[in-house]
């Protein structure tokens, strides 16, 4: 599995072993790699990603509110955009800090430097598509709150003793939004924005970082901060953000699904690989070693891409099995999560390449296959298998490994 990155990591790990024999100082690279994601300048922490924690928090409130039948369409839209329909200041959140913030979820959806700065057309389509699911939740699903879902009819459907609310094709819009944001917001910002040299090395960042010029009144250099912002989109909801592996999986977005993949024996250790790469890359920035930094960025991109792809295949397979048992409620729930992870495939990043693993049209075709016609109501097991194979074939894992 993933020989190349494993090997890369192995090299790092060996370096790390040497480090541990010499007060954490790698004699070859001069990088001081701490055991926790904790960095200081003159005794003051230089790690900061409050903006990422805020957006994760806003997104969390949004997806929760999408299942609260008292939510109005305008409230949900305000949670997505953090402004009123006419662009005024809105206070849709229960957390007052989010209301004071001028940040929003929508502004960072499909908004990375590498993928979308010169592709604003697609960016606008993605932003609008996710927004349409928010709207449709109210107009299609909330309005059928007390209707039993059937082919072509939105409403409720039982999943065990739980109740799921689906559209006419069987899709839970709340799941589509939550899981698509993992790709469109978090993965895109991490892999295609903050870990990119275009951002890390922008302007005078390299000179500034080399000479320790801090960003305004802050304690960090701009480059340090950019790297931390990538880290924050993954681990910003952790209890102890300097040691997120201790309580891996907190929150409802990327961290949670990293934990799920890490729990699969076939991918055990992936969370630690990613964390170590983040930490070593950050330490490399402190030491001014940009070669090591970029190697770590590649590891992170590759491994996070694996997380999304594994999860997409996992849910397609879970959905298939539930359909085999005629358990439509369970199947639709799995397929709804799968739909969001498939949507997220658009944003994952090939190693040492400017491209995504999947083109816009490839992902579009997957999505149309899933929800076209009567959608989940009449999707075939063979179709789900083919899609799973197509996804897995781009990686060094099998459908069976992902499906556990």
């Amino acid at each position: 599995m993933m020989k190349r990155t494993k090997f890369g990591f192995l090299a790092c790990y060996c370096a790390f072993l040497m480090v541990s024999c010499s007060n954490n100082l790698d004699i070859n690279t001069n990088i001081e790699n701490p055991t926790a994601y904790s960095f200081e300048r003159d005794g003051v922490s230089t790690v900061s990603f409050s903006g990422q924690s805020t957006r994760i928090g806003m997104a969390t409130e949004l997806v929760e509110a999408m299942l609260d039948f008292d939510s109005t369409e305008s409230l949900l839209l305000e949670m997505y955009t953090n402004e009123t329909a006419t662009g005024g200041d809105a206070d849709p959140f229960s957390n007052p800090e989010y209301n004071e913030s001028t940040k929003s979820v929508k502004s960072k959806v499909a908004a990375s430097q590498d993928f979308f700065s010169s592709n604003t057309t697609e960016s606008a389509i993605i932003k609008a598509e996710i927004q349409s699911w928010v709207t449709d939740q109210v107009t299609e699903v909330f309005s059928n709150e007390n209707v039993l879902a059937e082919v072509g009819v939105a409403g409720q459907i039982a999943d065990g003793t739980s109740v799921r609310y689906v559209n006419a094709q069987g899709l839970e819009y709340n799941q589509a939004v939550a899981k698509s944001l993992i790709g469109a917001l978090m993965i895109d910002q991490i892999c295609n924005n903050y870990l990119s040299p275009a951002i890390l090395d922008a302007g005078n960042n390299v000179i500034g970082n080399d000479s320790g010029v801090v960003d305004g009144n802050n304690s960090y250099t701009t480059m340090e901060h950019k790297w931390d912002e990538a880290y924050g989109y993954l681990f910003g909801a952790a209890t102890d953000t300097s040691n997120p592996l201790a309580t891996l999986g907190e929150g409802v977005f990327l961290n949670k699904y990293l934990s799920r993949v890490n729990d699969d024996a076939d991918f055990e250790g992936i969370a630690s690989d990613i964390f170590e790469a983040f930490k070593l890359g950050r330490a490399a920035i402190v030491s001014g070693n940009y070669g090591v930094r970029d190697e770590q960025a590649e590891i992170i991109r590759e491994q996070l891409s694996v997380v999304i792809a594994v999860r997409a295949v996992y849910y397609l397979q879970q959905g298939k099995r539930a359909l085999d048992n005629n358990d439509y409620g369970a199947a639709f729930h799995d397929l709804s999560e799968g739909y969001g992870f498939v949507y997220s495939l658009r944003f994952i990043r090939k190693m040492e390449s400017p491209d995504s693993y999947f083109t816009q049209s490839e992902v579009e075709e997957f999505l149309t296959t899933l929800t076209g016609g009567n959608g989940f109501w009449d999707i075939k097991a063979s179709t789900l298998d083919e899609m799973s194979e197509t996804i897995a074939s781009k990686f060094n894992f099998t459908v069976a490994q992902a499906a556990e």
């Binding site: 007390n146 109740v163 556990e404």
Partner: protein
């Protein structure tokens, strides 16, 4: 969410088994399973399942009668007879709840019969608005025995005021509808067993994920784990939430029947395992005899006795509990937790050791909670 353990895991388990046998030890030869699965299915159907449904259905016939009597004359005596019929039917239910197969599975009988804690707000809303659809999954927890328990025992603060509150026409109508629905669904399942499903069930006697034995055993363990162990003991004791939830017990409004209901269910679990007939007079082929057979054939460790021994220990732990689990949770939750722990100890035996011995794959995993 159900899922099947993937082939690769099975393969790796097999590999592991092979490896652990080692080169120099005598490899254990797995003798072909010649146990008569169909005979066991026939015994299950004729000695246990169908008689249990017949008893359940007849207890509901009585409940419908007593309800009708109460509607005609809402006297305190008639309320007491109605309550007695309710408890009787609720106890009968405990003997069929685990058989979530065939028509019961199709119509989601258990979801409409015994999802608790019940949703008082939804019940009161349904009663006052008179606009509701009991078929909706969102109304699972506004019907069945838990809702009836509330109506018969909890609808007024003081017991003396219940008759008056219950006798209001909208409330009576709702109660009536709940009881009628229980009876209708029970009828449907019983007649399906008697007309066509018995044959389907006993003839699907192979060994595969969709065979009757594999399905029934999975349903049985799922019931034991989720509805019996967790639902009746673990959740109110706070095993999954960290702090006790006294209101989450079964039948909290009548209050004094929780232990009784628990033990009927526990006996049903043990009787099914041991193949004891519903009338208690005979013992048929069962998981226990199947396990004994396989143990003898393969000369492997005695799992079957371990399981029944552990249940004896769990029963002694539960004996110490108060008639009201709600009171128990509030006064001394340690005893509840201890009962849970003893019940939990059979999970590994059932789900791993027994299934391995019988070569049955688990077809469910815990939902991932999102």
């Amino acid at each position: 969410m159900k899922s099947i353990i993937s082939l690769s895991l099975i393969v790796s388990v097999i590999l592991l088994t092979v490896i652990s046998c080692g080169d120099d030890e005598q490899a254990i030869e797995i003798i072909t399973d010649k146990f008569d699965r169909q005979e066991m299915l026939i015994d299950w159907a004729d000695l246990i399942i169908i008689p249990a449904y017949e008893a359940y259905n007849s207890s509901l016939t009585t409940l419908v009668d007593k309800k009708n009597v109460f509607i005609t004359a809402s006297t305190d005596d008639n309320l007491e007879s109605l309550r007695a019929a309710y408890i009787d039917a609720y106890k009968s239910w405990q003997r069929v709840s685990m058989f979530d197969i065939g028509k019961a599975e199709e119509i989601k009988l258990r979801n409409y019969t015994n999802i608790f804690p019940t949703d008082i707000e939804a019940i009161n809303h349904n009663i006052s608005s008179q606009v509701y659809n009991l078929d909706l999954p969102s109304n699972y927890d506004a019907q069945g025995f838990p809702a009836i328990d509330y109506l018969l025992y909890g609808i007024a603060d003081k017991d003396a005021d219940i008759n008056v509150a219950l006798s209001k026409s909208k409330t009576l109508e709702y109660l009536s509808e709940l009881i009628t629905k229980l009876h209708r669904q029970s009828d449907e399942v019983l007649s399906d067993w008697k007309s066509t499903y018995r044959a389907t069930f006993i003839n699907n006697s192979g060994a595969s994920a969709t065979a009757s034995v594999d399905k029934m055993v999975n349903d049985y363990i799922f019931y034991y784990e989720k509805f019996f162990r967790a639902g009746k003991v673990g959740i109110p004791a706070g095993v999954f939430s960290g702090s006790p939830i006294a209101d989450a017990v079964e039948a909290p409004y009548s209050n004094i029947y929780t232990k009784e209901l628990f033990f009927v269910a526990f006996n049903a679990v043990q009787d099914f395992y041991a193949g004891r007939s519903f009338d208690g007079n005979t013992q048929g082929e069962s998981l226990q005899s199947y396990l004994n057979y396989m143990q003898e054939q393969n000369n492997t460790t005695d799992i079957s006795t371990k399981i029944s021994d552990q249940w004896t220990i769990a029963a002694s732990a539960a004996d110490l509990l108060s008639e009201s689990f709600q009171d128990q949770v509030n006064t001394d939750n340690i005893l509840m937790l201890n009962t849970y722990d003893q019940l939990q100890k059979t999970i590994i035996l059932l789900k791993v050791d027994m299934l391995q011995a019988l070569n049955i794959q688990v077809d469910f995993v815990d939902a991932d909670g999102d």
